[in-house]
């Protein structure tokens, strides 16, 4: 992991003190709300439906055990609303009603406290910290070199990357040193702190895109040219929201050491010409789409000026690259592979139940590693009873212990809202499996239907049109049978509570979008989206199947769509492959057909 220098530590502490001063002025009435808002936002503090929300930056998703323990402490001691606030919030959520399930049960909002939430951009969020405690939390975070700087606001946000950075078998170059160098460059950039809109960068260093780079304002792909030199392919203008657009390649190859000089040009042209008259047209994707080649020409002209006139001041020196890259040297670990194979075989032979579950866990939750003695293991935070990506204080502490015991004290927050242990010795897989199972992290559902992405939605977010978490729960409840789940295979199900698309519904094979009709919760279902991974194919937004559905209809629609897949698939064919081969029509017909059965059920219930 990157090791903070004294300079870095002083900076984070100074930022925490600055925030305390701003908070104090706001509390004293010297700083009006409208002027405090952008300042707290640029430190990660939102105000949501019932309480403030804090987003903590996790650069490229990497966390140490010590940092996890501080996140646990914050969850335990600070993510605690007053009893009256919680009671009031729960009562308000209760009015939204329950979602009836086919099995006669129902799901409803259950607000919980004392936990952290993993986001699709590899960050960590809290939902209940009172604003008057916010400066104390910033000090606590600073004690382990953490902060919420630029996790919100119209600035360059936390830079995300591949959860398998530095360990992936298909890696061209480790993206983390570049992520870190760019993080430092973008931190409190004086010229780029008030852009037209938020600005998100993702960087991938592997052949497979596991960072959804096409969906970002800037997507960077490390690659080697014909001469074997390292550089970046640069995509600009991707994004979700109400206008989903995949980024345009504006540079096929940029030498690695020029990335910041080039980004300076990309962002400066955007800062000057991006729209500021309409918040929905302010992202860079709209500028790139409207200007096309002219935007690209402007960026190239500005880049030329930065290089020739300014002298390319942010050219990464070999010394700086080496300094930062030295922080990411792999821990020295090895194991007796023969013994590991024997141990694994022993467990597989042991009990019939274990046999199936351990085998499935090895298949879904364990990934290969650059070091043949090691594995990358995903801890699943997708299980019944907790919202996708939520972890209680106790669970965060256990995850910190597991990281320490099995993964050189390091975890990664994944884009799919789980935790990944990057340095697991293959001979310790059985022990890790037992420990993870005991902790409830060993659900062998990684990449399967129930490993869904969901935003906090209408239970927490003030922007949401509808709830996401109860929908996620209803589908999770329906698909508890692991045999069925494994038979359905790898499927990306993404749920957003509104068009802002934090739950990435556009990129789901199946996407669910909350919409508001006459003050009631409705859901649009889309099919065929892709995040850009190998399984999903080139990044593309999904297409809606038709008018929106009621909450009760959604699980029925999902079931109908999946049943269509089962009928149409060829041997070994995934859901998305079948959908691409046969086209959306039969799936759409099935989805729209499910409308009636659910409507009948609802009528029956009302009559009863």
């Amino acid at each position: 992991m990157y090791q903070y220098t004294e300079f870095d530590r002083q900076f984070v502490k100074a930022r925490a003190s600055q925030y305390r001063d701003q908070l104090t002025r706001w509390q004293a009435g010297q700083l009006p709300e409208d002027e405090f808002r952008p300042l707290r936002l640029q430190n990660g503090w939102y105000v949501q439906r019932y309480a403030p929300m804090l987003r903590v930056a996790v650069p490229y998703g990497e966390l140490s055990s010590a940092q996890l323990r501080v996140l646990a402490k914050i969850a335990r001691e600070y993510d605690q609303p007053s009893a009256a606030l919680l009671e009031d919030a729960q009562a308000t959520q209760d009015k939204l009603g329950a979602i009836p399930l086919k099995n006669g049960q129902s799901v409803h909002s259950k607000l919980t406290t004392g936990y952290a939430h993993f986001t699709t951009r590899q960050n960590v969020q809290y939902n209940w910290i009172p604003l008057d405690k916010s400066a104390d939390v910033m000090d606590l975070l600073a004690s382990v070199n953490m902060h919420g700087i630029q996790t919100s606001g119209n600035c360059i946000r936390n830079i995300t990357s591949d959860e398998r950075a530095g360990i992936a078998v298909d890696e061209i170059a480790d993206p983390r040193p570049f992520g870190e160098i760019m993080r430092q460059w973008s931190t409190l950039h004086p010229e780029f702190s008030f852009l037209p809109r938020k600005f998100k960068i993702a960087i991938s260093g592997a052949r497979e895109d596991r960072a959804a780079i096409g969906w970002h304002d800037v997507g960077l792909q490390l690659l080697r040219n014909a001469e074997g030199e390292l550089g970046f392919k640069v995509l600009v203008g991707g994004g979700m929201g109400r206008t989903p657009i995949i980024g345009t390649v504006i540079r096929e190859f940029l030498p690695w050491n020029q990335i910041m000089n080039y980004l300076e040009a990309v962002v400066r042209v955007y800062n000057r010409y991006g729209r500021r008259d309409n918040i929905y047209k302010a992202r860079i994707k709209i500028l790139v789409k409207a200007e096309g080649q002219r935007y690209i020409d402007d960026v190239e002209a500005e880049y030329k000026q930065i290089m020739e006139h300014d002298g390319g001041p942010h050219t990464i020196t070999q010394a700086e690259y080496d300094r930062v890259a030295a922080c990411f040297v792999a821990p020295t670990l090895d194991c007796d592979r023969k013994e590991a194979d024997a141990k694994i075989a022993h467990i597989l032979r042991a009990a019939a139940e274990d046999d199936v579950e351990f085998g499935r866990w090895l298949q879904q939750n364990v990934a290969p590693h650059q070091n043949p003695d090691l594995r990358a293991v995903t801890l699943s935070f997708k299980r019944l009873g907790q919202a996708p990506g939520d972890a209680t204080a106790a669970q965060l502490d256990v995850a910190a212990d597991l990281a320490e015991r099995f993964s050189a004290g390091e975890v990664r927050v994944t884009h799919e809202q789980n935790l990944l242990l990057p340095w697991v010795r293959c001979d310790e897989l059985p022990e890790l499996w037992r420990a993870a199972r005991k902790a409830g992290f060993a659900k062998p559902n990684i990449k399967l239907l129930t490993d869904m992405i969901a935003c906090p939605g209408g239970d927490f977010c003030s922007l949401a049109n509808a709830r996401s978490i109860p929908i996620a729960e209803a589908i999770t409840e329906r698909y508890q049978d692991l045999d069925e789940l494994h038979d359905l295979g790898e499927i990306d199900l993404h749920i957003s509570g509104c068009i802002n698309s934090c739950g990435h519904h556009h990129s789901g094979h199946i996407g669910i979008l909350g919409v508001d009709k006459d003050g009631k919760e409705w859901y649009q279902v889309s099919l065929g989206g892709s995040d850009g991974s190998t399984l999903s194919g080139p990044a593309v937004p999904g297409k809606a199947v038709g008018p929106s559905f009621s909450a009760a209809e959604v699980p029925e629609v999902i079931e109908a769509v999946l049943e269509t897949y089962r009928q149409q698939r060829e041997a070994g064919e995934t859901f998305i492959a079948t959908l691409r081969r046969v086209g959306a029509e039969p799936f759409k017909a099935a989805a729209n057909g499910a409308r009636f059965s659910a409507a009948r059920a609802e009528t029956a219930e009302t009559a009863a």
Partner: protein
């Protein structure tokens, strides 16, 4: 950076050759010949276009005169202004000069933690840190 109260700011009869530039104007289209002062405007403090204008005027066009920040100029953005090339800021009428000076001095990325090069000091921290540790 020189801080002015709103009352100390005047656009006419200063004896200076002053131009006022709207924040969507292109600095490259302006003749800087004989200009003493350029006033750049922040219609809202969250509209950051004037930061880029100041950078281009100071760094790219080499303008040596005064670059003055006007409009919605608040104490919490002064450090960003100075680093982008402004050397004078006219505080919005309700802003406190004392608070402004204190906040400016303590601003991260100004005194402490300046990572990237800017209009005034073009070198990023990693270059200066390497040079100072080498000597």
């Amino acid at each position: 950076m020189k801080l002015l109260a709103a009352s100390e700011h005047s656009t006419g009869a200063t004896g200076q050759n002053v131009i006022e530039l709207a924040n969507d104007a292109d600095p490259f289209q302006v003749s800087l010949e004989g200009v003493d002062r350029i006033d750049l405007n922040f219609p809202k403090f969250t509209d950051g276009r004037a930061f880029s204008q100041a950078f281009l005027l100071r760094r790219r066009l080499g303008f040596q005169g005064e670059i003055r920040a006007t409009g919605d100029v608040l104490v919490d953005q002064l450090a960003q202004m100075e680093r982008s090339g402004f050397d004078v800021a006219v505080l919005r009428a309700d802003q406190d000069l004392g608070v402004a000076q204190r906040v400016l001095a303590a601003y991260p990325g100004y005194g402490v933690g300046k990572y990237q090069g800017d209009a005034i000091d073009i070198q990023p921290h990693f270059v200066t840190a390497a040079t100072s540790s080498a000597t």
